[in-house]
């Protein structure tokens, strides 16, 4: 202590070299900190020691290799703060400023990009075998991650989610197709307005259908957090689902949490229901499958819960004619295909598929069978080595022309999924294909009915209304609701029989 009542602190830092210009700036910065009366940070050269002594400090023995930190404070209480300011100022002299015009080397790992930007979210779409490592980079620095990649080994998913759990971060995925955070669509996602619903979804296209219907009812969301198809399995035990529910519960703007998933394993379902009861926000489970409400009914339940009116779900185009023949479903969304199959099976018997409801009706590689056929062109085995049908329509269009030439086919059901990440103008290629399909049938003296679900929101970049109108004009009956589209397709078939 000095007599004047101020507090003096002098310390030597051996080997902490910095150049004199940098240290001048450090001294200046530290001197400006509240509570600091005087500050000198310098290498302990004779000249500098003289200067510091001249400021009235008492100095210990020092060598020119030492850095001297000399502080005079109004009170000892401010010492910790002042020393922190010294460290910060020294660090600042070494910080890389983005403005310097040296060579820019691209980030080669997520870790590197996170370090450079401080981003709080990483989107991973590498091959599945490498996704875990990139995701771990995010978890390590406390950032959330969405893993779009599929084919991530189950044991890696478990290890990753346990690691995330211990660090309080959220892992969306693997195989998570859709998420919306702060209005930002990640992966295949729709433009959504802010609103009271928070969604946790284990199914990408299931989530998109819900988003499309809520948007049409003028209901927005706080977030739609994807968790990946395996999260609610007995292996993963809903680690991400719970974290996502926690996040939504803590958000004062979320009035209702909706969990969209296939029915979870029994013990996970029980655990999740008990967990939901601990939250202060009501939770609605929209479980998909036979004997469960379909996605449209789930959306209606959400609206009812919010006290919102359920609108008449829109459709575009002329009603297609009924007739006798087979139904062919050509889908890009797995959950939409599933939903249609469940509805069709209940009304028109077994459905052949590459993702069949029962193994007895698995399609072979010809993708043809007698009876109702529904194909998910977005399934893993169909997308190997080629882009997803939501991005590139080629494979579905080829198949459409094939089924149009099949005299046994009477009704075609398809989904068109809009939003970020998807084909910028699906109607642009599908409308001509629909016209061509009708022409093929007519040339053959037949009629073909084409029913579409067009899943999108009013703000989507493709413009929902325009897409639907173009498709309707081409000769399709277009519905916002996939369940409605499916019901219509079944009606057209039924009334024929």
């Amino acid at each position: 202590m000095t007599s004047s009542g101020s507090f003096e602190h002098v310390e030597l830092r051996a080997g902490a070299y910095a150049d004199s210009v940098a240290l001048l700036q450090v001294s200046k910065d530290v001197a400006a900190v509240p509570g600091v009366l005087a500050a000198q940070v310098a290498m302990a050269t004779e000249l500098n020691l003289d200067v510091i002594a001249g400021m009235g400090f008492t100095l210990p023995e020092a060598t020119p290799n030492d850095m001297v930190v000399a502080l005079r404070l109004d009170s000892e209480d401010n010492l910790a703060g002042a020393l922190a300011a010294v460290d910060e100022a020294i660090a600042a002299t070494r910080r890389h400023s983005a403005s310097s015009e040296d060579i820019d080397v691209p980030s080669r790992t997520s870790a590197s990009a996170l370090e450079r930007t401080g981003a709080k979210l990483v989107f991973v779409s590498t091959p599945g075998a490498s996704a875990t490592v990139e995701a771990a980079d995010a978890i390590e620095v406390g950032s959330d991650v969405m893993i779009f990649s599929d084919n991530v080994p189950l044991e890696e998913e478990i290890a990753l989610k346990k690691l995330a759990q211990s660090r309080g971060t959220l892992v969306m995925g693997p195989d998570c197709g859709t998420a919306v955070v702060n209005g930002i669509g990640l992966g295949f996602a729709n433009t959504m307005r802010p609103g009271p619903v928070g969604i946790v979804a284990a199914s990408g296209t299931g989530c998109q259908q819900l988003l499309a219907l809520l948007d049409y009812a003028n209901v927005g969301i706080t977030a739609a957090l994807g968790v990946g198809g395996r999260d609610l399995s007995s292996d993963v035990k809903g680690i991400s689902t719970k974290e996502a529910m926690n996040r939504l519960d803590a958000d004062p703007k979320t009035d209702l949490i909706v969990v969209v998933s296939k029915p979870p394993a029994a013990e996970v379902a029980a655990d999740l229901e008990a967990f939901a009861k601990t939250l202060s926000t009501p939770v609605q489970f929209a479980l998909l499958g036979a004997d469960q409400p379909n996605l449209t009914e789930a959306a209606e339940n959400v609206l009812n819960e919010l006290g919102q009116q359920v609108p008449d779900w829109p459709n575009w185009g002329e009603e297609q004619s009924a007739g006798a023949g087979y139904l062919r479903g050509l889908f890009s969304g797995g959950t939409l295909c599933d939903e249609s199959m469940i509805l069709a099976q209940a009304n028109a018997g077994p459905v052949w598929s590459n993702i069949p409801l029962d193994e007895a009706h698995r399609l072979d590689s010809s993708l043809e069978a007698e009876g109702t056929v529904m194909i998910d062109f977005g399934s893993d085995e169909m997308t190997q080595g080629r882009p997803h049908p939501m991005i590139d329509p080629t494979i579905r269009l080829e198949h459409l022309s094939k089924v149009a030439a099949n005299p046994k086919v009477r009704v075609v059901l398809m989904d068109v999924v809009l939003g970020h990440g998807a084909d910028a103008d699906p109607a642009g290629s599908l409308a001509p294909a629909i016209k061509a399909a009708h022409e093929t049938a007519q040339a053959d003296g037949r009629e073909l009915s084409i029913v579409l679900s067009c899943v999108g929101t009013s703000g989507d970049p493709q413009d929902l209304a325009r897409q639907a109108e173009v498709l309707a004009e081409a000769g399709a009956e277009v519905h916002l609701s996939n369940a409605r589209a499916t019901a219509r397709a079944l009606t057209l078939m039924e009334s024929a029989s």
Binding site: N182, G183, T191, M192, P194, G220, P252, K253, S458, G459
Partner: protein
């Protein structure tokens, strides 16, 4: 920036709806490196750089500065025509579209959290609530009878958003969020007076407050107080750094609203 370039931005729903709707024209009110403001019907809409704080009438772009991006024909001049509608705002050769909808909603408050929130506000930001711009008597009148005294605040003070308007925005949004009995009367009075009493930008923000929309920094700050967030102090500081006195005005309005709810209710 090349001719025909489309710049993407994030905006509140009402701005997106306006831009998606009927084509109409407005005029540029102000153009600087971080913000271009123009009229659209009775409202004012801004296109802002990534450096500017989003407010409930801006399209926030990721452009570091608008200067460079609008340089093909230079920054527009006040009085220049702007075309709004059919999906775009068009200024000279630049088109701006809304690619994302941002949340400007005021968070809801549980009535039982008001007293605690108010106490925490005094602890964290007591000093910043000492207004030198408004007489104590006026603040008191506004607290007791908001609808009856708001005409004395609107348009009072300097700047594009006069201090009295900032206070009113904070007060109105808070009363609406808490469902206070006086909220609707105040709202009607504000909607009634705003077009004539203040700048058109400020009138736009008052109308947004009447719809429950506030600056995200304001929403963050007040919800961090209500949620016992450890970052409350930092968030309050961020709010106070907005504009010359805008952030402080909104916080004062919030404080008056909490006092109003605690001490007195409308008949």
């Amino acid at each position: 920036m090349a001719i025909g370039t489309v710049v993407a931005g994030a905006a509140p729903v009402w701005v997106a709806d306006r831009i998606r709707g009927q084509v109409h024209q407005g005029i540029v009110l102000h153009a600087g490196s971080d913000a271009i403001y123009f009229t659209s019907h009775d409202d004012v809409i801004g296109i802002v750089s990534s450096q500017a704080t989003p407010i409930p009438c801006t399209i926030s772009t990721r452009l570091a500065t608008l200067d460079g991006e609008f340089s093909a024909s230079g920054l527009p001049q006040p009085g220049d025509l702007v075309t709004i509608g059919a999906g775009f705002v068009t200024i000279a050769d630049i088109q701006v579209r809304v690619a994302r909808l941002s949340d400007y909603r005021m968070p809801k408050f549980a009535p039982n959290s008001i007293a605690i929130t108010n106490a925490r506000l005094r602890t964290v930001a007591g000093e910043s609530l000492q207004s030198t711009e408004l007489p104590a008597e006026l603040i008191n009148d506004f607290r007791v009878e908001p609808a009856e005294s708001v005409h004395l605040l609107l348009g009072r003070g300097s700047g594009l958003t006069p201090f009295g308007d900032d206070v009113t925005c904070g007060m109105l949004a808070t009363l609406l969020a808490t469902g206070d009995a006086c909220a609707m009367a105040l709202r009607e009075r504000v909607l009634d007076l705003a077009p004539d009493r203040t700048t058109s930008l400020s009138a736009t923000l008052l109308r947004r407050a009447a719809e429950g929309d506030v600056l995200p920094v304001f929403a963050d700050a007040v919800s961090s107080l209500a949620q016992e967030d450890e970052n409350a102090s930092e968030r309050i500081q961020r709010l106070l750094s907005i504009g010359h006195t805008s952030g402080a005005g909104m916080l004062l309005g919030f404080s008056i609203a909490l006092d109003h709810i605690t001490l007195r209710s409308c008949s």
